[in-house]
């Protein structure tokens, strides 16, 4: 069991309100990702759930029981920190054993769980090393191992992959998803990387300045963003926004169209412009188009074999059914 409910949870540091009253329910077994720009309160929210910060107002329920004033150790949650927070003077084995030792589990059971976690995380060969003698990815796995052996109600991850290089990050992303499938335990995962959010989440919570902008599955957020912020934040490269006459034609204050929903051709399209920088990824090419008269730049995605040179004139056709419309306050018009 690991259902977590936040009711009107609010947090202020001194006079600055970091999180205005907020409601959120996380179902048992869900993989929930908190995503948002830096400083929007993701870590704070996670720490409130963990109990490392006191709420200023509101209630936190874990499995329906009021946990607002329960100390962190008793909430049955395990946290993986961005800095890993391994104990540097203990071997990997002792690090993983630490929570069980604190819980006074018997030695045989401790060993069994350590062996199991080490096997699952490919750490068996490193059990007697100190954290300082491990690579970043291995340290990350030790931190996860230390969380797993507690058999918690839920895992809390605070940007666990942000210190890893790109290739390792992809690998660890898969491992964590795999772990979630196997354990089926609730996981709350904080990141500002929207690729991680899109690929791992059952449910994404988009935050801005402590306010929940939208909660939904990755595809819901992609297809029907509730407002301009979510539309711009989810999806890579970012959605193009066009205001003015072109938007009025669609009965909106602004329209948004994703780079992948614009078709390009050398002649004959709805819009036209001059090609600026072209980013070739091999499979795809992203063109940055200027002088369209619509917005400063438009980004479009074309298949990798489409050739345009810097300065060429290009014609663009947005797919009519993929145009998002927003009103003056930024909300979606459906």
């Amino acid at each position: 069991m690991g259902q977590i409910t936040l009711q009107q949870v609010q947090k202020s540091f001194g006079d600055t309100e970091v999180i205005p009253p907020l409601d959120l329910t996380i179902e048992d077994g869900e993989f929930v990702v908190f995503v948002g720009p830096s400083g929007c309160g993701k870590s704070t929210l996670l720490r409130l759930i963990a109990g490392l910060e006191d709420v200023t107002a509101g209630t936190i329920l874990i499995d329906g029981k009021d946990a607002t004033n329960i100390p962190p150790a008793k909430r049955g949650l395990a946290m993986v920190f961005q800095s890993y927070a391994l104990y540097p003077h203990m071997s990997v084995r002792k690090n993983i054993a630490f929570p069980m030792r604190m819980a006074k589990l018997d030695k045989a059971e401790q060993d069994r769980r350590i062996e199991q976690a080490a096997a699952a995380l490919n750490l068996t060969d490193y059990l007697d090393r100190r954290p300082g003698q491990l690579s970043g990815g291995q340290r990350q796995r030790v931190a996860i191992g230390r969380a797993i052996v507690r058999e918690p109600e839920a895992f809390l991850f605070d940007e666990p992959l942000s210190n890893l290089d790109a290739a390792l990050r992809v690998g660890m992303r898969l491992e964590i998803s795999e772990l979630h499938n196997r354990l089926a335990t609730t996981m709350i995962y904080v990141t500002h990387d929207q690729v991680e959010a899109m690929t791992m989440a059952d449910k994404i919570v988009v935050l801005q300045s402590g306010i929940i902008e939208q909660v939904g599955s990755p595809l819901e957020l992609y297809k029907t963003p509730r407002n301009r912020f979510v539309a711009g934040f989810i999806g890579s490269p970012k959605m193009n926004f066009v205001e003015g006459d072109e938007a009025v034609k669609h009965d909106a204050h602004a329209i948004g169209i994703r780079p992948e929903h614009i078709d390009v051709s050398p002649k004959g399209g709805t819009w036209s412009g001059t090609v600026g920088v072209a980013e070739h990824l091999g499979s795809d090419t992203f063109f940055h188009i200027h002088e369209t008269g619509l917005a400063e730049t438009l980004t479009v995605r074309a298949p990798g074999d489409v050739q345009f040179k810097h300065g060429d004139t290009i014609h663009l056709t947005p797919r009519a059914d993929q145009i998002h419309r927003f009103d003056a306050s930024g909300l979606r018009i459906s």
Binding site: G51, L52, M79, L86, Y87, P99, M102
Partner: protein, 292 residues
């Protein structure tokens, strides 16, 4: 950085400093060794001009066979050990306390450091006359206030008193070093331990103390060097009486009170040997904390 040329340039530039330092240390050491094998009693007319009489190891034998030798070694070790224990234990506790966010933190920290800036002679006199005086000292008044018989600090509990005075002097140093070490501890480690179910006592024992081990080692090593040569505090309080004669003090008495330079020099060589024995022991016990 480490090209052939920069290395030889570096050697050339360091040479004056190295030569100066070597001379600085070697000249007194060689003179001490030289005198320790000579009969040199200035008051009896011995002088360098007339040439000194070679006496072999006689000074060494006399120094050790004196009835004050072993007690002075013991006193030295008790003072060093006592002060180390007190300053490290209290230093850790004070550092923990000062690390807590509290009102007036800046002022409190300066107050805690203050004793370190008081000269040993002054602090010895202040303690002797204002605190430990059996009639007018603050401690005597305190004892009387609670209806107890005031202690004769410096005459009855002389060694404890010296340890107390010297600890008071060195506590700020230990506290300061340990405080900076505590502040360098990653707070996420403590939070992780808290989530792992460690009580604050266990967090101290399993996380903070191991983190401090290196700083404690440094405090112990540096303090030992200075504590082996504690002198002023003894000179102004008990003048070596009541069992407070350390090895340093004994050498001082031999050279300046008995005017026996040869005997004192032999004592000096013993002091060097004692310091090295202590250093080797310390390095054995705590030195491994320094690599890692």
């Amino acid at each position: 950085m480490a090209t052939q040329q920069s290395r030889s340039a570096a050697r050339l530039m360091m040479a004056p400093a190295v030569v100066l330092l070597l001379g600085w240390m070697l000249v007194p050491l060689i003179m001490t060794l030289y005198f320790s094998f000579k009969k040199y009693l200035p008051l009896r007319g011995d002088s360098l001009e007339n040439g000194l009489q070679w006496v072999g190891f006689q000074n060494y034998i006399r120094f050790v066979s004196s009835s004050s030798f072993w007690p002075s070694v013991q006193t030295t070790l008790i003072i060093v050990g006592g002060v180390l224990v007190i300053t490290v234990v209290l230093g850790v506790l004070l550092a923990l306390l000062l690390d807590q966010p509290m009102w007036g933190q800046g002022v409190v920290r300066i107050l805690v450091i203050a004793p370190f800036f008081v000269m040993p002679t002054v602090s010895g006199l202040v303690w002797k006359n204002m605190f430990m005086d059996p009639i007018n000292g603050i401690l005597a008044h305190t004892w009387r206030f609670f209806g107890a018989e005031p202690l004769q600090w410096l005459s009855q509990h002389s060694l404890e008193s010296i340890v107390l005075i010297v600890s008071w002097q060195w506590l700020p140093f230990a506290t300061l070093i340990l405080l900076t070490a505590i502040q360098s501890l990653d707070s996420e480690q403590l939070e992780a331990a808290e989530m792992d179910g460690a009580s604050s006592l266990k967090r101290f024992w399993f996380i903070i103390l191991p983190h401090l081990s290196r700083a404690i080692t440094i405090v112990i090593l540096i303090q030992t060097i200075f504590l082996l040569s504690v002198f002023a505090e003894i000179f102004v309080t008990t003048a070596g009486a009541f069992g407070t004669k350390t090895l340093t003090y004994l050498i001082f008495q031999r050279v300046l009170e008995s005017q026996n330079v040869g005997l004192g020099s032999a004592g000096g060589v013993y002091a060097i040997i004692l310091a090295n024995i202590v250093a080797i022991f310390l390095m054995r016990i705590v030195g491994k904390n320094l690599d890692a």
